[in-house]
C-alpha cells in the first residue's frame, strides 16, 4: 500500500498539469466561497448570512463542493488516461505491478485527493462560519460537522465512478465526455421513465442525495430547517458504489490486454 502510494506520489509530484489543475480547483473554490453572498434567486439571497453561520455553513460548503467534485473526477480521468496514452500502465505491469495493484494505486491516490479536498473544505467552512456567526460555541461549530463526511464520501464516490469510466474507455477525451454527460444529464434522463423509489438509488443520484439541496429548505420555509443530520442511508450506499466501481475497474483491467 505504502509502496503504491509512493509510486503514485512520484508520478504526480512532477506533473505540472496535475499541480495546476489542483491549484485551479482550490483557487476556484476559494473565489466561489468568497463571493457566495452575491448569489441571489429572485428576491432570495441564496447564501445569506444565515446560511454561512454555524452550524448551517457545513451543509452549504459541502453542497457547493459537490459540484466542484466534478473537477476532481476529471483530474482522476486525466491521470488514468495518461497511463494508457503514455503506455506506462503496460510498462508498470511489465516492471512488476499486478493488474490489481495498478487499480489499487489509483484508488489510493483518489482517497488521498478526496481527503485533501475534505480538509480544505473543513477550513473553508471554519473560516466562513467564524466570519459570519455571532455566537460561536464548540457545540454550534461541530453540530453539523457530519456534512464533511458526506462531502468526503461524495468526492470518493464520484472519483471512483470517474476512475471506472477512465479504465473502461482508456481515452481521456472520451472518458471525460462520458463522465460529465452521465453525471450531469444522462442518468437524469434515464431516471425520468423509471419509478423514483428505484432511481434514487442510481449511482449519480445516490451521491447527490448525500448532501441535500440547502436552499430548497430556505425557499420553502425560510426558517432554516436544514437537513438536521448529515447521516443518512446514502452514506452506506456511496461506499457500496465506490466498492462496486473499484471491483469493476479491477475486472476491466484484468480481462483485457494492455
Amino acid at each position: 500500500m505504502r509502496k503504491l502510494l509512493q509510486i503514485e506520489y512520484l508520478k504526480v509530484s512532477g506533473y505540472a498539469a496535475f499541480k495546476i489543475l489542483m491549484l485551479g480547483y482550490f483557487l476556484a473554490a476559494t473565489t466561489l466561497f468568497l463571493s457566495l453572498h452575491n448569489f441571489s434567486f429572485g428576491p432570495f439571497q441564496i447564501f445569506g448570512q444565515e446560511t454561512l453561520k454555524f452550524p448551517y455553513v457545513w451543509q452549504n460548503v459541502a453542497f457547493i463542493g459537490k459540484f466542484l467534485n466534478l473537477g476532481l473526477g476529471i483530474v482522476m480521468i486525466l491521470l488514468i488516461g495518461n497511463e494508457f496514452s503514455f503506455g506506462t500502465a503496460k510498462q508498470n505491469l511489465i516492471d512488476g505491478l499486478s493488474r490489481t495493484q495498478l487499480v489499487i494505486s489509483k484508488y489510493l491516490l483518489l482517497i488521498v485527493i478526496a481527503l485533501g479536498a475534505t480538509v480544505f473544505m473543513f477550513f473553508v467552512g471554519l473560516l466562513m462560519g467564524w466570519a459570519n456567526s455571532v455566537t460561536i460555541t464548540s457545540a454550534l461549530i461541530f453540530k453539523n460537522i457530519g456534512f464533511m463526511l458526506s462531502y468526503f464520501l461524495h468526492a470518493f464516490g464520484l472519483m471512483s465512478m470517474a476512475a471506472f469510466i477512465a479504465y473502461l474507455f482508456r481515452k481521456t477525451a472520451i472518458a471525460t465526455m462520458f463522465f460529465l454527460a452521465y453525471a450531469v444529464f444522462m442518468e437524469a434522463i434515464l431516471r425520468l421513465s423509471i419509478d423514483a423509489d428505484f432511481t434514487r438509488y442510481f449511482p449519480s443520484k445516490t451521491l447527490s442525495n448525500l448532501i441535500s439541496t440547502p436552499y430548497a429548505d430556505l425557499v420553502s420555509g425560510m426558517d432554516l430547517q436544514l437537513q438536521n443530520e448529515a447521516w443518512n442511508e446514502y452514506m452506506i450506499l456511496a461506499v457500496f458504489y465506490a466498492l462496486i466501481f473499484f471491483v469493476l475497474s479491477v475486472q476491466v483491467v484484468r480481462k483485457r490486454s494492455l
Binding site: 509510486i7 510498462q91 512488476g96
Partner: protein, 295 residues
Amino acid sequence: MREVLKITNLSKSYGRIKAVRELSLTVFHGQVLGLLGPNGSGKTTTLSMILDVVKADAGQYEWFGGVPVTMARKRIGTLLEKPNFYPYLSAVKNLEITCRIKEKGENRINDVLKQVGLFQRRNSKVKGFSTGMKQRLAIAASLVSDPDVLILDEPTNGLDPNGIADIRSLIRDIATNGKTIILASHLLDEVEKVCTDVAVMKNGKLLELRTLRGSELDRVRVIELSAGSEMDLLKILEDQDGLRIIQSLNSMLVVETKKSPQEINRILAEQGIYLTHLRERRKTLEEQFLELTNQ
C-alpha cells in the same frame, strides 16, 4: 542447466489471424537466445504473453520453475516494443519509479545512465528526448534493477550506428556476467553478433531452434568456389553425393557439404577443372534464415 523459462504450446489469435501457433520453447540459464523472424512473425506477441501483458488463448509458460508471473516480472528487465515513460518526468525520476516497482534500491540509476550514455541528460524531461535517447533510456530501465533475465525486443531500434555498437557490446558484457537474455530482432547480424542460440519464427510458428556457438554448425561446411567455366563446375558438382548447391551468384557457387575444401579441390582437379576461387566459411545466419523462412 537450470530452466529459466519453459513455454508449452502457447497460442494467440487476433480475430482470424493466428499470431502465435502452439509455440514451445525452453530457455536455460546463461543463454542468449535470439528470437528471429520477419515482421509480424509473432515475436512481440510471444514476449507479451510470457509477461502476461497479452492474454494467451492457450498454452502455458513457467518462469524460474514455477514462480508466479507477477513475482517473476520483478526479476526480469524488459524492453517491449517501444519505450514507455512519463514524458513530463526526468530520466532519473522515471527510473526511480521503475526501481520502486521492482522493489530494488536506486543505487544503480547513475551507473546505468552512464552505461547507455544518458548521464549528462539525466535531469532532462523525457519529452525532449529523441527516439534514440528514449530507446537508450528504455535499455537503462531494463538494466536498473540488475535483473536475472533480460528481455529485449528490438533493442537497437531508432539508434544511430554508435548507439547500435554501444548497445551490442553492452548486451555482450551483460551476457558474459551470466545473465540470461532473450533478444527479439529482425536484424540478422544483430542476433548473430550477440546470441548463443537462435529461434526462428515465421507466421507464429517456431521453425527452428539451434545454437550458434557449437559444433553443430561447423559440421556442415559452406564453401564458395568459382572456376573458368561455371557450366562444367556445376555439372561435376551436381553429381557429387553429400553436396548441395545453395547459391549461384556472379559465376560463384556456394555449396553446403561435409567434404573438406581439399577434397573438393582434388575431385575437381581430377576432372580437369582448376579453381580460381576457393574459400570455406561459416554459413551466415542470413543464409540460414532465408532458407528457413522461404520454405
